[in-house]
C-alpha cells in the first residue's frame, strides 16, 4: 500500500488546511526551512526590530470563482493578509502584491480586481507598496493567482499566544460561521438552489484593535477561522496552547440558510471557511467588555461566547451537543467533500 517517495503526488488535500497540510508543512517545509520564528507556526512571524515588534506574513490566493457574492480574489487577497496580521495583535501597515496571470485574461477583469484591492486596502488603512506580475501560458494557471505579503507593527507590551490561555478563559466569535465557504461552493458547483448567503470577506483590523482596547491584557489570543473552519482553528489553538476547549453547540452562530444547504450537501458548517470572522480567547473578566466592543461594530454585530478553555483534555476540542452529550470535534481531514448519504 505505501508508496515510494517518487510515486507520491501532491493532492488537493495538501492545500486544504487540515491534517495533510499540517503533515506537508512539518515534513517538507518546516523540515527544510526551520528557524525559531517559523517554528512558532503563528498566523504571522513576529520580529524584534528595535521599537516594538514587526509582524510579517504572506498568503497566496487561488480562489475559483474569482468573482463571488460579497467579494472577489482581489478583496480576498488584501483581507486575508491584513487579517493574519490583525489577529496576531499587529496594526497592519504595508502589503506587497504579486500576480500570476494566465495568458488571455481580460484586462477589464484585472482592473476590477485591482480596484477592489485598493478599496479593501483603504478600508483597512494599509498601503500596497510593492508588487510583481508574471504571465504564464494558457492552461499553466487558472485565470489569476495573487500573493500578498504584509507587514504590521505590534504595539509594545502586547503579546498574543495560545500558550497564554488559562482554564475558564472564554472563547468568543464575531458572528455567523461558514458563510464564505458555502458561498464559494455554491458558486463553484453552480448549485441549483439559490442561496442568499454572501461571503463575509472583510478586513478585521478594526475589530481586532477594538478587542485589544476593551480587553487589554485579558486578551490571550485571536485567530481568523479561514480554511478548515471553526473546528480546525479551535484544534490548532488547543494543540498550541496545550489546553482543552469545550464548545456549546447551541451557542455557535449559524445562518439558517447555511445549515439548510449543509444538510442538503452533507457538509458540516463548522469546517467551512470564513474570511471576515475572528475568534478571541479572553480572560473571564474581559469577556463582557470585549463582547460589547465587538458588537458595536458592523463586522462584530453577531458576536457571542461559544465556549471556554479547560484544564483537562489537553489538545482536544470537545463539543457539548444540543442533547447535553459531549463529543470530540476533530480537525478537517483532507478536503471537505460533499456526502450523498
Amino acid at each position: 500500500m505505501s508508496k515510494t517517495e517518487q510515486e507520491q503526488v501532491i493532492l488537493l488535500g495538501h492545500g486544504s488546511g487540515g491534517t495533510l497540510t499540517n503533515q506537508l508543512i512539518r515534513t517538507v517545509f518546516q523540515e527544510a526551512l526551520h528557524n525559531p520564528i517559523l517554528d512558532e507556526m503563528l498566523d504571522a512571524a513576529l520580529l524584534d526590530l528595535g521599537q516594538g515588534r514587526v509582524a510579517f506574513t504572506t498568503d497566496s490566493f487561488v480562489v475559483d470563482p474569482i468573482f463571488f457574492p460579497g467579494g472577489d480574489i482581489g478583496k480576498l487577497a488584501v483581507c486575508g493578509t491584513v487579517n493574519d496580521l490583525a489577529v496576531s495583535g499587529a496594526v497592519p501597515l504595508y502589503l506587497s502584491s504579486a500576480f500570476i496571470i494566465e495568458e488571455g485574461f481580460p484586462l477589464a477583469d484585472l482592473r476590477r480586481i485591482v480596484a477592489s484591492m485598493q478599496e479593501a486596502a483603504s478600508a483597512a488603512g494599509v498601503r500596497v507598496v510593492t508588487g510583481d506580475t508574471k504571465v504564464v501560458g494558457r492552461g499553466s494557471a487558472d485565470k489569476i493567482f495573487i500573493n500578498t505579503t504584509g507587514i504590521g507593527v505590534v504595539p509594545p507590551g502586547r503579546s498574543l499566544s495560545p500558550r497564554r490561555m488559562q482554564p475558564e478563559d472564554i472563547v468568543l466569535v464575531s458572528g455567523t460561521l461558514g458563510d464564505h465557504g458555502l458561498t464559494i461552493l455554491a458558486q463553484r458547483e453552480g448549485l441549483s438552489f439559490n442561496t442568499p448567503v454572501i461571503s463575509d470577506c472583510t478586513p478585521l483590523n478594526r475589530i481586532a484593535s477594538a478587542i485589544m482596547e476593551a480587553g487589554g491584557d485579558g486578551v490571550r489570543c485571536m485567530r481568523d477561522p479561514t480554511r478548515g473552519g471553526l473546528a480546525t482553528t479551535l484544534n490548532e489553538l488547543a494543540g498550541q496552547g496545550e489546553r482543552g476547549i469545550l464548545v456549546q453547540e447551541t451557542a455557535i452562530p449559524l445562518r439558517r440558510e447555511v445549515v439548510g444547504a449543509c444538510e442538503m450537501l452533507g457538509l458540516d458548517p463548522l469546517y467551512l471557511a470564513n474570511e471576515g470572522k475572528v475568534i478571541a480567547v479572553v480572560a473571564p473578566g474581559a469577556a463582557e467588555p470585549v463582547l460589547a466592543a465587538m458588537r458595536s461594530l458592523p463586522e462584530g454585530q453577531g458576536a457571542v461566547a461559544i465556549g471556554r478553555v479547560t484544564e483537562s483534555g489537553r489538545g482536544l476540542v470537545l463539543l457539548e451537543t444540543e442533547l447535553g452529550a459531549t463529543r470530540i470535534l476533530n480537525m478537517l481531514e483532507g478536503e471537505p467533500l460533499p456526502r450523498i448519504c
Binding site: 500500500m1 503526488v9 501532491i10 493532492l11 488537493l12 488535500g13 491534517t19 495533510l20 458547483e189 448549485l191 441549483s192 447551541t250 450537501l265 452533507g266 489538545g315 482536544l316 463539543l319 451537543t321 444540543e322 442533547l323 447535553g324 452529550a325 459531549t326 463529543r327 470530540i328 476533530n330 481531514e333 483532507g334 478536503e335 467533500l337 460533499p338 456526502r339 450523498i340 448519504c341
Partner: protein, 364 residues
C-alpha cells in the same frame, strides 16, 4: 425545533428508555446518515448501558468494493473519458489509489450533485465520453433511472453509467443468515424506506423474529425509534413499524420503484468488508446495454491485491471491536482507509481511531 424544548423532550425519552431497557439489546443502525446523527449528537453516551448501537453497512459509498473501484479508476484514466461522480467517492480507495489521486495525475474526474447533472455534462461536451459513476441505495437509484431516461430520449451517444448500485434488504438478510451474528433489532433507513415502504422488510420480524423501526434522522427520532424497538422486544411482538411517519408511507413510492424496474435488473454485488451478496446489486437491462459503461468500455485491469485481514465484516456484525483488527491504525487509517468502517468519517473504526489517536497525542 427550539433547542431547549428538544433537549427536554430528549431527556423525557431517555427516562422512558431507561425504564424499558431491562436487559441487553444490540440494535443495528443500517444507514450511514443515522450513524452520523448518532455521532454528532453524542447520543451513544446518553443511552442506557443495556442498549448497544452497532453501525451497519453504512452508506453506499463506503461499501463500494475496492476491485470495482480499480475498474472505475482505470476507466477514468482513459483519454476520452470524463468520469462524473458524487464528491464523496473521490477519496474511497481501490486496491492501489483513489479517484482523487487519479485526478491529480490528470484523469478527467468531475464532481456532480445529481445524475442529471452528468447528462447535462454530456450534452455540453459532445466530444467527451461522460461516464456517470452510479453509486447509491434505493433512495438514489430512481434519480439515476431518470438520467438514463433523459439520455435515451435525447439519443445521447456520449453518456453511459457505471452501475455500482446496492440494495438494502438483501444485505440485511445476508447479515441475519450469518449464524454468528448477534443483532436483536434494526433501525431501518428512513430515506430508503420512503421508496421501498415496509413490505420488503417484513421477512425480518416474520422469519427472524427481530424488531424493525423505520426511523427519521434527528436524534429524538432515533430515541423514539429505540423506544418502539424496546417495546416490541419486551412484549415479544416483532414487526416493522414506522417512526418516520412524516416522510414514509407503508406502501413507499410506487412511481419511483417503477422507474427502477423499468431500467434495472438485480445482480450479485460485492460489498466492501462483507463480500458477495446475491441479488444485492443492479445492472442496466439488456435493452439499455448501450448506456452501460461496463459493456461499452471493456476495461481490464490486473486484479489488485485486496488487503487481507480487514475485519470490517466482523465489526459490522458486532463480533469485533475496531482495535481488534490487525490493520487498525497501521495499514488502515482515516487518511488511507481500507474497510468501510474507516472510509466513512463516522464509521466505527474512524471514530475509534480519532478518539484513540488524540488520547495518545496523535501517534498511533
Amino acid at each position: 425545533m427550539q433547542p431547549y424544548r428538544n433537549r427536554d423532550y430528549a431527556h423525557h425519552l431517555l427516562e422512558r428508555l431507561q425504564q424499558e431497557a431491562t436487559r441487553p439489546v444490540s440494535v443495528m443502525e443500517v444507514c450511514g446518515t443515522h450513524t452520523v446523527a448518532i455521532a454528532r449528537s453524542g447520543l451513544r453516551e446518553l443511552l442506557p448501558k443495556n442498549i448497544r448501537l452497532i453501525s451497519g453497512p453504512g452508506c453506499p459509498v463506503c461499501v463500494t468494493d475496492d476491485l470495482d473501484l480499480d475498474l472505475v479508476i482505470a476507466l477514468a484514466k482513459e483519454p476520452e473519458i470524463t468520469m462524473a461522480t458524487f464528491g464523496d467517492m473521490m477519496r474511497v480507495p481501490g486496491t492501489g489509489s483513489s479517484l482523487l489521486e487519479a485526478k491529480s495525475l490528470g484523469a478527467d474526474v468531475k464532481v456532480v450533485y445529481s445524475p442529471t447533472d452528468a447528462v447535462a455534462l454530456a450534452v455540453a461536451n459532445p466530444d467527451r465520453q461522460v461516464v456517470f459513476l452510479a453509486v447509491g441505495f434505493e433512495t438514489t437509484i430512481p434519480t439515476v433511472a431518470v438520467a438514463v431516461e433523459q439520455a435515451v430520449q435525447q439519443g445521447l451517444r456520449n453518456f453511459s453509467i457505471f452501475s455500482l448500485h446496492k440494495l438494502v434488504p438483501p444485505v440485511m438478510e445476508a447479515l441475519l443468515t450469518d449464524p454468528e451474528v448477534r443483532l436483536d433489532a434494526f433501525i431501518n433507513p428512513g430515506h430508503v424506506c420512503t421508496i421501498l415502504g415496509t413490505e420488503p422488510f417484513r421477512f425480518i420480524p416474520e422469519q427472524y423474529g427481530k424488531p424493525c423501526v423505520v426511523t427519521g434522522f434527528e436524534a429524538v427520532d432515533i430515541m423514539e425509534a429505540l423506544l418502539m424497538i424496546l417495546q416490541q422486544y419486551n412484549q415479544g411482538r416483532p414487526s416493522v413499524e414506522i417512526q418516520y411517519k412524516r416522510a414514509v408511507r407503508p406502501e413507499g413510492n410506487t412511481v419511483a420503484r417503477g422507474y427502477i424496474d423499468k431500467y434495472f435488473t438485480p445482480v450479485t454485488a460485492c460489498w466492501r468488508g462483507i463480500g458477495e451478496v446475491p441479488g444485492s446489486g443492479l445492472a442496466l437491462r439488456e435493452e439499455f446495454a448501450h448506456l452501460d459503461a461496463h459493456r461499452r468500455f471493456p476495461i481490464t485491469v490486473t486484479p489488485g491485491k485486496r488487503l487481507k485481514n480487514c475485519s470490517c465484516g466482523q465489526v459490522l456484525k458486532g463480533l469485533k471491536l475496531p482495535y481488534e483488527c490487525a490493520l487498525f491504525g497501521k495499514a488502515c487509517t482515516p487518511m488511507k482507509p481500507v474497510g468501510p468502517c474507516m472510509v466513512s468519517t463516522e464509521g466505527s473504526c474512524a471514530a475509534y481511531y480519532r478518539y484513540g489517536a488524540q488520547r495518545v497525542g496523535g501517534a498511533v
